[in-house]
Symmetry: C2
């Protein structure tokens, strides 16, 4: 809106961000990411468009392209933002080794119990289960990085395999509790789940 | 086709099966179920219609209504057929109690490793994760029955909760291995998975 030089060269390339949008800088990037997260969460992967994200963020669609590229790349960035808390797993992994399973189970459930993080996580999982492009992002980007980080902190053989088995258990719990809402798991107290699940995670992550 | 009395009373109710179709009896029912399973597996819950199932089965749509009712009810019946092997869990639960986790893990993986059963299972899981109607069928019908049957055979407190935690682990493994295909789990040898997962299942199902 302000500060754009009216006589700057303006090549007619399609998808180039407008001066107004480009001038909005890092704030616009943050707004686009937030909008992308919401759009993917609310509409699902299929029905989300670059145009819709741009509209929700109050920027040109060209600026979304400019910062992130394709829809898949916007999705990857939105997923990364969502998983940011999970990517700082070393805080979970850092405590006494014998409490690792319990800390991980509690951390995982706390992320899912919070509606603000649950909704984008649900959207990501749903998208990954129904769209190969989204599955690829989760598989090749998020999960791989996450599992490698966890595995790097573990002192067990086959650490990545074990980390993935632990992840599979937690993803299964999220699926039954939050997506399918099957009882008795759906209504169980989180601490009751932690108490039951922690030893299984501990075995994967802490036993040689 | 044969044996339909030409002067049978024929109320003009919409959705009444044609005499030709109705006369096909149990074979038609089986064909409809097989077609429903294939249609739901290939098209997903959303894009599957009673009309499409009828066409695939070579019967009137009215006959599908006649045998099964609504689309949700056809889905429930198709899911039940798919889960039939899983519903005879007493064969798995019947052996020595100390091998229960291992037998269950091996049985579960063998069902998913077989492409003939994997494809409808994938379709059911995908449908349940994206459509509330399908989730309801899985939650209220299949999972509840399955968990109750398993729990009835267990000699542990909170048997249904424990059975569901075991199920959640297996569903999570199926999600990462067969749906998202995340490595190293996607390429792991089934027996390698059984060896790692069996003690976790054993703890849920066999320990007081």
């Amino acid at each position: 809106m302000t500060g754009a030089s009216p006589d700057a060269p303006a090549p007619r390339r399609r998808g180039r961000p407008s001066r107004r949008a480009a001038s909005e800088g890092p704030d616009a990037r943050t707004r686009i990411l937030a909008a992308a997260r919401t759009e993917f969460a609310e509409r699902g992967y299929d029905k989300t468009s670059i145009r819709g994200i741009a509209r929700a963020a109050g920027v040109d669609a060209a600026l979304v392209h400019h910062y992130f590229g394709t829809k898949d790349e916007v999705f990857a960035a939105a997923v990364e933002v969502t998983f940011e808390p999970a990517l700082v797993v070393h805080t979970v992994l850092g405590g006494p080794p014998e409490g690792l399973g319990e800390r991980l189970a509690r951390f995982f459930l706390s992320v899912w119990e919070d509606p603000a993080t649950r909704s984008p996580l649900l959207a990501i999982l749903r998208s990954a289960l129904t769209h190969e492009a989204a599955a690829k992002v989760l598989r090749e980007f998020v999960l791989r990085r996450l599992l490698e980080r966890i595995a790097a902190e573990l002192d067990v053989p086959d650490a990545t395999f074990r980390a993935e088995l632990a992840a599979s258990h937690m993803i299964g719990i999220a699926t039954l509790r939050y997506m399918i809402r099957a009882e008795p798991l759906a209504s169980a107290d989180p601490e009751e789940i932690v108490a039951m699940v922690a030893p299984a995670l501990q075995r994967y992550l802490g036993e040689r």
